[in-house]
Amino acid sequence: MTRRLALVLLALCLWPLAARAGDPLAAIVPGRTTKAELTALLGAPWRVVQFDDCGDEMPGQADETWEYRGKDSAGPYRLHVEFDDDGTVRLVAKVPDGGSKSATAKVAPAPSMKGMTM
């Protein structure tokens, strides 16, 4: 109960500063922000994805991904958030809808990314 209250307070504190100001990226800290904190901050995601299709045949592609839809002066975008196995944000990026323009991601200082993440 105390933790939930703390999360709500955290969300109330962060929301005006970051998300409501149009920069939810600033409120999400890879390596620290958890699923519960993200839910408290932004609500339920628009879409959840898990790409793994062959179990441990494809390590590194099993990351659970949450997406939030948003819109700013540049147009519609998705907040793309990937979690590690313990439910902490590993990567977050603000990706413009459609098109193929790349977006720089904030990532946790993971020990081995090896360029194979999804």
């Binding site: 994805v49 898990q50 790349s102 194979m116 993440t117 999804m118």
Partner: protein, 550 residues
């Protein structure tokens, strides 16, 4: 004797009236029946060299659709769910598209609820106006255990003990987790499916099943932590059931490669090629990699083709279907042959296997039987027109941005001499032009078209190539396959970004990924997207249409 069944099947097909063969909707070909379409030679002795070869045009920029010798006929966004496998069924008077989806969840606008990704059902009778009918949710619980990637459908009129007029759907419920299952649903009314039975649950892994509709035999890709079987990579082997009465599944046996059996001593096992003996393993990996998705040619051709390894340490195995199904009743079978077979029990139905190199795995192994060799219509062998039995094999690319792996491609194997399968050609898409390795997501082979549509059979084959799109080859000269069509979908507002860290910089980019390309019984082609971009319905045009006699 080994190829006798196959040639009987081909003879049977050749004996069918031409009109019957052209009735693509007749449910006679695998998985609906045992007939194999006859393939007529349509090239002169120069084969592909006699064709006016046109190189594939370079694709357009990444944010635009690229299409060659194909036409977009229709599209459905699949509610934004990422697709693994499409299957089109001529169901009564309608054409129904079933989509197995990857794990995740999303709002279903039809119900107003967020549903775990499962099986989508879309009426594609009018391809220009697909109608999303229903979504059967996947299993609830952790997203990692979710999805329902595979789907097969049989009619009650064809199943030996099915209820006339009914339609049944077989699916894997969940992918990797502690309690995955295989289920049968009643989809007679595709707008209101109902769960009929759970065949087996408590599984740790599932994948791509095969279901013979005319016999009811189902080859389920599955495994459980407690079954004692040994597999590297995907922890799955075969569990074979009789689903001729889909309400009452009857277990037949488990099956896999030598070295996967529960009694194998993995710690001391040696390669069978070097140290044949009671404790050895087939292929290059100890224990051998898990199976991906078998294909049976049914009772007449009497073969099951089994690819192991997905994207690494692959083995392609050819199995005698009758011996596989009846082997545990054989006088020489061990007492616990079904659940815990001995090495001898596993070898009994094996016709042969070919080990791939370590950088490739067996994702697809699709037989194409009786294909004329245009340059061998005279002079060779006894001077009579020569045909070959082929196996189209693909190894799955499993990494983003081409990183950390060798390229994954597809090959045509000559399996006419079943004891010694041999590759005779490769199906390849180069990363340039198109700069596919920089495009984001995966670039490489994935899956081979499986549906038998007689005008296409033995003439063209499709392979999904992730961000390289849906690719079609002319295989009328099997030793010299020609690329003749492609479709590369543009990213849209639903496309899931793919992220990669290269040289310390992490970037995300929207990139559509063709996960599967498949035919229907009207000749339409379905390009299903893994990144949530939807399913596109296509037809062939230009030289691709000419290759199939249009």
């Amino acid at each position: 004797m080994q190829g006798l069944g196959i040639f009987l099947a081909l003879a049977l097909a050749a004996a069918l009236p031409a009109q019957a063969q052209s009735q693509a909707r007749a449910p006679a070909y695998p998985p609906d029946g045992p007939a194999i379409p006859a393939v007529a030679n349509s090239e002169d002795a120069s084969g592909a060299f006699g064709q006016e070869f046109k190189a594939p045009p370079p694709p357009k920029p990444w944010d635009r659709e690229s299409i060659w010798n194909m036409k977009v006929e229709g599209f459905d966004d699949n509610q934004g769910r990422p697709i693994y496998q499409p299957l089109v069924v001529h169901q009564g008077s309608r054409e129904i598209l079933y989509l197995g989806n990857l794990g995740g969840n999303l709002l279903n606008p039809l119900t107003g609820k967020t549903e775990a990704n499962g099986t989508s059902i879309i009426d594609v009778t009018d391809v220009a106006h697909p109608k999303f009918l229903h979504h059967i949710p996947g299993p609830s619980g952790p997203v990692a255990a979710a999805g329902a990637q595979m789907v097969r459908v049989c009619g009650g009129d064809v199943l030996p003990r099915g209820e006339k007029g009914k339609w049944y759907l077989l699916r894997a419920a969940g992918n990797v987790g502690p309690d995955e299952a295989q289920q049968v649903w009643d989809v007679t009314d595709p707008t209101a499916p109902s769960l009929l039975t759970t065949i087996v649950s408590g599984l740790s892994n599932t994948h791509k099943n095969w279901w013979e509709c005319d016999t009811g035999i189902a080859y389920l890709v599955a495994g459980s932590a407690s079954d004692g079987w040994h597999q590297s990579g995907s922890k799955q082997h075969l569990k074979i059931y009789d689903l001729s009465d889909p309400k009452n599944p009857v277990y037949i046996r488990d099956f896999g490669l030598v070295g996967q059996e529960p009694s194998a001593d993995v710690a001391t096992a040696q390669p069978c090629a070097k140290a044949p003996g009671p404790n050895c393993y087939e292929g290059n990996m100890n224990p051998p990699s898990g199976i991906h998705g078998p294909i049976s040619t049914g009772v007449t051709a009497n073969r099951v083709y089994m690819p192991y390894g997905v994207g690494a340490n692959g083995v392609i195995q050819i199995v005698d279907r009758k011996k596989l199904l009846e082997g545990c009743k054989h006088p020489g079978a061990s007492p616990d042959c079904a659940k815990s077979p001995t090495q001898a029990d596993l070898l009994y139905p094996q016709v042969s296997f070919i080990a791939m190199n370590r950088e490739n795995g067996g994702h697809s192994a699709v037989p194409v039987l009786g294909v004329p060799m245009p340059e061998q219509q005279s002079h060779y062998a006894d001077g009579t027109p020569q045909k070959k039995n082929l196996l189209v094999v693909a190894s799955e690319e499993t990494a983003n941005n081409c990183m950390g792996q060798q390229p994954h491609e597809a090959w045509i194997l000559d399996i006419t001499d079943e004891a010694a399968p041999w590759p005779i050609a490769s199906l390849n898409v180069p990363p340039m032009p198109g700069d596919f390795c920089e495009k984001g997501a995966r670039f490489g082979a994935h899956a081979v078209t499986e549906a038998i549509y007689p005008p296409y059979y033995g003439r063209i084959v499709g392979v999904s190539w992730f961000n390289g799109g849906a690719r079609i080859w002319d295989i009328r000269d099997p030793k010299n396959p020609l690329p003749i069509a492609y479709y590369i979908q543009a990213p849209n507002a639903n496309t899931i970004a793919s992220c990669a860290t290269i040289d310390g910089v992490s970037k995300c980019r929207n990139a559509a990924q063709n996960d599967y390309v498949e035919f229907d019984d009207r000749g339409y082609i379905y390009a299903a997207d893994r990144s949530g971009t939807g399913v596109t319905i296509l037809s062939l045009t230009g030289d691709a249409a000419k290759a199939v006699g249009k």
